[in-house]
């Protein structure tokens, strides 16, 4: 499908003002409070300022809370322009789910399978980035096994290689799956950590290279977080 046929209505580029306020209240006030006081999510951010303009956020995916926590780190003035990319086959099944994903999560639903779709998801997301929107991607494609990271799909590589000016911000989410595991509905506070890494900029790398670099970046953050709080080995402390 040619790019010019993907019109703004398709992904609702003009977010109504009401939804903008709703999203701000939901994420910068409500969810920020829930994550800070109830769940006890610890935010670790890099010292550099948050890049402005369209951004691709990528993170590992284990829980429905992942998208919520990522929305809380988006700057207020861009919250209505930031869309989580969610699976049509999971979230588009009922009218209520679809409505709440669009209005309460500001998500864009894409089809994970090739058959029966009228628009290529990459074209759609690419058009959104061109319009100045940010995207939240979970390149693993599914919530998978708790605590383990699966190999990344190539979507992020496609998008970043087509938009060389757009920074890719890797985010590592640790422990959120304990608060709301797959298949459960009750959130039990268990804490967790959100590590926001330095923005990655790509100029002319191939799709596979970008996919590999982003996956390495998140794996490195995971490794460093695990190392951070380990007991130092000393002669007094040996067990």
């Amino acid at each position: 499908m040619p790019k010019d046929r993907i019109d703004s209505k398709l992904f609702q580029a003009h977010v109504p003002n009401g939804r903008r306020w709703l999203l701000w209240l939901l994420y910068k006030v409500f969810w920020r409070t829930v994550f800070g006081l109830v769940i006890g999510l610890r935010y670790v951010r890099n010292a550099k300022p948050h890049p402005d303009g369209p951004i691709i956020y990528i993170a590992n995916h284990n829980s429905h809370l992942d998208a919520m926590s990522l929305m809380t780190i988006v700057p207020s003035h861009r919250i209505h322009l930031t869309h989580s990319v969610a699976a049509q086959d999971f979230f588009g099944t009922s009218g209520f789910r679809k409505w709440s994903m669009q209005n309460l999560v500001n998500a864009v639903l894409i089809s994970r399978t090739k058959d029966g779709r009228d628009v290529d998801p990459i074209e759609l997301l690419d058009a959104m980035l061109n319009e100045g929107h940010s995207l939240i991607l979970f390149p693993e494609g599914t919530r998978g096994v708790p605590g383990l990271m699966a190999d990344f799909k190539r979507g992020v590589g496609h998008l970043a290689s087509r938009n060389p000016g757009v920074p890719v911000v890797p985010v590592y989410l640790d422990g959120l799956y304990r608060n709301l595991p797959k298949g459960r509905t009750m959130i039990v506070p268990f804490g967790g950590t959100l590590v926001m890494g330095d923005a990655l900029h790509f100029e002319g790398e191939s799709i596979n290279e970008i996919t590999e670099i982003t996956q390495k970046a998140i794996e490195k953050m995971a490794y460093e977080l695990e190392r951070e709080n380990q007991l130092p080995r000393s002669k007094n402390a040996s067990r």
Binding site: L37, G40, R42, G175, R178, P181, R184, M186, V188, P189, F190, G191, G192, N229, Q230, L231, P232, S234, N236, A237, R239
Partner: protein, 320 residues
């Protein structure tokens, strides 16, 4: 200004202790500033970060203490919750134990409501009698017995140590009227906060300057005999000096200060042991320079219940 504070209803003794706390903070911040100017780069960064965190902690403690008792109860309940929430992820619980964890969290509002309503008998029995049976039973009902001894011991322990212990501070608001005692429960609360805080700082300071012989080298290499003895003695003296916040005689205040310092040290050591078994240094990163809530509050929650009973015995039982 003074008139304004009195209209607002703040008691003179409480104004005094707040003044003392702020002076100590201003003094140490100024000292680090001057040290940095004289010998740049010589000052351990940790001291500055710790002092900055003390500012925030003291501000939170003072505001929640002098505010309405309901705010104080909510603040203490939040501290209990933060302690449990920090500990449970570290215990590597089975995902089917989530429901029991939820019950443990639900105990907190019940316990503090009992304290707020003044239902003292039920308050004292709720966790050690009823929850002590209910929580192991709930763990058994999930049908899996492998590794159950661990959960059966740790979950009730966490409730007794960090909810039951801490909630005794809320029970200070239920003390009967003591003749000639004006500072009230808020004064007592600030007294304990001050003692436990200064005990930690002094044990740290004595240990850093004179420390040679470790008390528990295999558990917590940083705790030394010099730090412990110096800290306990100085805390005892400070407890006598700050006696105007309590209904106690000098020797009673000295005994209370001694017990608070020793209980604080014991709570600290127990938490160190638990953390060492899990294999972590700090229980979290909520407070910069100090670690998590547990790293800061372990001594506080261990000293709370003994402090309440000492005050009750000296102020109410022995006085009548």
């Amino acid at each position: 200004m003074n008139k304004l504070i009195q209209d607002w209803g703040m008691i003179a003794e409480i104004q005094w202790v707040i003044f003392i706390i702020l002076s100590i903070l201003v003094f140490s911040s100024t000292a680090w500033f001057i040290w940095n100017r004289l010998k740049p780069g010589n000052l351990p960064k940790e001291l500055q970060v710790r002092t900055r965190s003390w500012w925030v902690m003291c501000a939170c403690f003072i505001v929640t203490t002098v505010a309405h008792p309901l705010v104080t109860h909510l603040g203490l309940a939040f501290l209990s919750f933060a302690l449990l929430r920090e500990m449970y992820p570290l215990l590597k619980l089975d995902s089917r134990e989530r429901n029991v964890v939820m019950i443990c969290y639900a105990v907190i509002p019940v316990q503090y409501t009992l304290a707020y309503l003044g239902m003292t008998t039920l308050f004292l029995a709720f966790i050690p009698v009823f929850m002590f049976v209910l929580i192991p039973f709930m763990l058994v009902t999930r049908g899996e017995t492998e590794g159950i001894v661990r959960s059966i011991s740790l979950m009730p322990y966490s409730l007794v140590a960090w909810v039951y212990g801490m909630s005794h501070l809320a029970l200070l608001f239920q003390l009967p009227e003591i003749p000639g005692f004006k500072a009230g429960p808020q004064g007592l609360l600030l007294y304990l906060i001050f003692l436990v805080g200064i005990n930690d700082v002094l044990q740290f300071a004595w240990g850093k300057t004179l420390g040679q012989h470790a008390v528990l080298p295999r558990v917590s290499p940083n705790k030394t005999w010099e730090g412990l003895i110096g800290g306990v003695l100085s805390t005892t003296l400070i407890a006598v000096a700050l006696r105007f916040l309590t209904p106690l005689e000098p020797w009673q205040a000295a005994l209370t200060g001694f017990c608070v310092a020793v209980a604080g040290f014991m709570g600290d050591a127990i938490a160190s042991g638990i953390k060492r078994d899990i294999g972590i240094k700090n229980s979290g990163n909520a407070i910069p320079g100090h670690g998590g809530y547990l790293d800061r509050l372990d001594g506080f929650s261990a000293a709370a219940a003994p402090f309440f009973h000492l005050i009750y015995f000296f102020g109410v039982t022995a006085a009548s």
